[in-house]
Amino acid sequence: MKRHQYRADALIEVLHKAQELYGHLTEDRLLEIAHSLHLPPSRVYGVATFYHFFSLTPQGEHSCTVCLGTACYVKGAMELLATLETESGLRAGSTSADGKLSLLTARCLGACGIAPAVIVDGNVAGHADPEVMRARVRALLDED
């Protein structure tokens, strides 16, 4: 925060940093940020909820993000997602009760040349095959 000299326009950068450090943004943390940037809490909350990137709920230990952008869509991303939803018992956008896995979706990862694309724990996999991905998701869920 110091690095940003408490400037109001640094809000988005500070939120990026906070999310990177803690995984998600809690209300307390947002209040703290508002206080130190001298901004009304409503402004901080408004910004944090406007951008898809910021999450106010904890994410799973592992994450699997299926791209539903156009290029992936025409290459069967919906079937891929359906397979993973069935395998994990999760709906897209939710996290398993044990906190192991979040199943997420995205709109284009910029990897359209190798569609359909999936990100597992930060690593992009291209030409994703439903069966291979099903096995990977299973492995993440069964891991202890």
């Binding site: 400037r7 109001a8 326009d9 640094a10 809000l11 988005i12 950068e13 939120l15 990026h16 402004r43 408004g46 910004v47 406007f50 951008y51 898809h52 990137f53 910021f54 539903l68 952008g69 156009t70 290029a71 869509y73 025409v74 290459k75 995205a106 709109r107 284009c108 990862l109 910029g110 990897a111 359209c112 040349g113 190798i114 569609a115 694309a117 690593n123 992009v124 996999a125 291209g126 030409h127």
Partner: protein, 538 residues
């Protein structure tokens, strides 16, 4: 830094080159296919073969053939390897001395490569984007030097105007005209912003340019800053592009170290700093006024224009905002001259355009072609048609703001006016090929869902209209809609276009209208089903 220093650096860089340079693409597409492991294995194989003195393995930017990655090429003889697996590294090194090699080879003579014309992407897949020395060795920053020492700002603007360059971010506004407006707008300070938000799904041109040749963009921004009188620049990049951000950070640090950014650049009175701003996942932030709000640390919501950012932009100051690819054309225009550039392309659309060719097409990847090439040439010759020979049905250009062009109109040349005439737009360059199995109503529904999710909610026609249209499209798709529903859908198209505040809402109906225009029977077939159900249940 003086001109001579640039030349000395370039000379030093060229002389430290080894006899054989092997390029291994380490950009996002290939990284996802295992390129980093391959890169290390290639280095290990050179070491093991005792070829360190002779062979250099260089990590380079995107070669464009991302669908066939990881890609490797041998510079001198132009051999191209596709789908290279890490364990094949020793084979590639041995093949330099005539050893047997079973790695799949690509063909430079294939139209996918031979019909391209590289201006913006000329260094893509050729230089190491993480080393400023390599950019300087291919003539980098000489255009900036030339501009600062030999041209007045007015002369620079005149050159860009005469080149005929138009904005590559979608709307195709003449770049020289925009620069002239910013230059003559009064303001204590001025800013230059590079729009690297690229939210259009199915597009990754800007990502690849930023990853493959970051200095080209910095040089273009610097020239622009000199021309309009700005001393601070911002590069706004999507949060989804970590590699592009990392490479830009490195490039900015290197340029600063060599005094190519900062104060008194090339010993002149020109000062220019550039900072990166990372987007946080909102498509609407690609719209210029929303992007400015986002840089100011606010919610990324558009505001009515005028005033345009050129007069009243970042923190109220005159601001030049251009797309990544637009900036990528600047240094080449200065180096080769406005007339050279104006000689490429069509009457009203000059130069080249980078497209991301994806979807149901054999050769997916990035291509840069002269304006005026036909869609048929792109899809059939460069793209090689569909992978399994299923007939092509159409191609979507311009993403959620664009339209679908049916196969019957594939002889349309790609230029701003022709694409608009057939009901689509040039857009930023996404080109998604669809085959006979693609359901066009579903595609329209898909884009509407996208616009609904991405609507910032500031104005009512877009906020509620996209929801209504999405519901209607879902109803049609499920076979439960009537002809009256279809009529309502068409009315909503007009309403959104006429009354929305920004481009997102105004163009949200485009995919619906263009699929209705060319594939109406697909909608009507779904309506008729309802009639049949009614009859049988009676």
């Amino acid at each position: 830094m003086e001109f001579q220093d640039l030349q000395i650096m370039a000379e030093q860089e060229r002389s430290r080159r080894k006899a054989i340079r092997i390029h291994c693409c380490t950009s996002s597409g290939c990284q996802a296919s295992g390129a980093l492991e391959l890169f290390h294995q290639l280095q290990a194989a050179v070491e093991a073969a005792g070829q360190n003195e002779r062979v250099d393995i260089v990590g380079v930017g995107c070669m464009g053939f991302c669908g066939q990655g990881p890609m490797v090429s041998v510079e001198a003889d132009g051999v191209l390897f596709e789908h290279v697996r890490p364990e094949q590294a020793p084979e590639i090194i041995a093949s330099l001395d005539g050893g047997p090699c079973n790695v799949k080879q690509g063909d430079h003579a294939h139209p996918f490569f031979s019909r391209q014309l590289h201006i913006v992407r000329r260094n893509g897949g050729v230089i190491d984007p993480e080393r400023i020395e390599e950019y300087i060795a291919v003539g980098g920053y000489q255009a900036l030097y030339h501009v600062l020492h030999e041209m007045s700002p007015a002369e620079v603007i005149d050159a860009i105007t005469r080149s005929g360059l138009r904005g590559r971010g979608g709307a195709g506004y003449p770049t020289g005209l925009k620069w002239a407006t910013v230059a003559k707008s009064p303001g204590e300070r001025k800013f230059v912003i590079c729009n690297g938000d690229e939210g259009d799904p199915g597009a990754f041109m800007d990502r690849s340019i930023l990853e493959s040749d970051p200095h080209l963009i910095l040089e273009g921004m610097s020239i622009a800053a000199y021309a309009v009188g700005a001393d601070q620049g911002y590069l706004y990049v999507r949060g989804e592009y970590p590699l592009a951000i990392a490479r830009l950070q490195k490039a900015i640090a290197q340029a600063r170290k060599h005094d190519l950014l900062g104060s008194q650049i090339f010993d002149t009175s020109f000062n220019f700093r550039v900072d990166i701003r990372v987007g946080a996942g909102a498509f609407v932030c690609g719209e210029e006024t929303a992007l400015i709000a986002s840089i100011e640390g606010r919610r990324g919501q558009p505001r009515p224009r005028p005033p345009y950012p050129a007069e009243h932009g970042l923190w109220g100051y005159p601001t030049l905002i251009n797309n990544v690819e637009t900036f990528g054309n600047i240094a080449p225009i200065i180096t080769n001259g406005a007339d050279w550039y104006a000689g490429i392309g069509t009457e009203r659309s000059k130069g080249t355009k980078v497209f991301a060719l994806t979807g149901k097409v054999r050769n997916t990847g990035l291509i840069e072609v002269p304006m005026g090439m036909t869609i048929r040439e792109i899809v059939e010759e460069l793209g090689g048609g569909t992978p399994d020979g299923t007939p092509v049905k159409g191609v979507q250009t311009g993403g959620p703001s664009g339209g679908c062009i049916p196969e019957a109109l594939f002889d349309t040349p790609v230029d701003y006016e022709s694409l608009a005439e057939v009901g689509s737009i040039m857009g930023s360059g996404g080109m998604v090929v669809m085959d006979a199995t693609t359901n066009m109503v579903e595609i329209a529904r898909f884009y509407m869902e996208f616009c609904m999710d991405e609507s910032c909610g500031k104005c009512i026609p877009c906020r509620t209209g996209t929801v209504q249209m999405y519901r209607l499209l879902s109803k049609i798709s499920a076979g439960q809609a009537t002809a009256a529903d279809l009529a309502t859908l068409e009315q909503l198209c007009h309403l959104l276009r006429e009354t929305s505040l920004c481009g997102l809402g105004q163009s949200a109906p485009n995919p619906v209208q263009s699929t209705l225009r060319y594939f109406r029977e697909e909608y009507e077939r779904l309506l008729r089903k309802r009639v049949r159900i009614n009859l049988t249940s009676r």
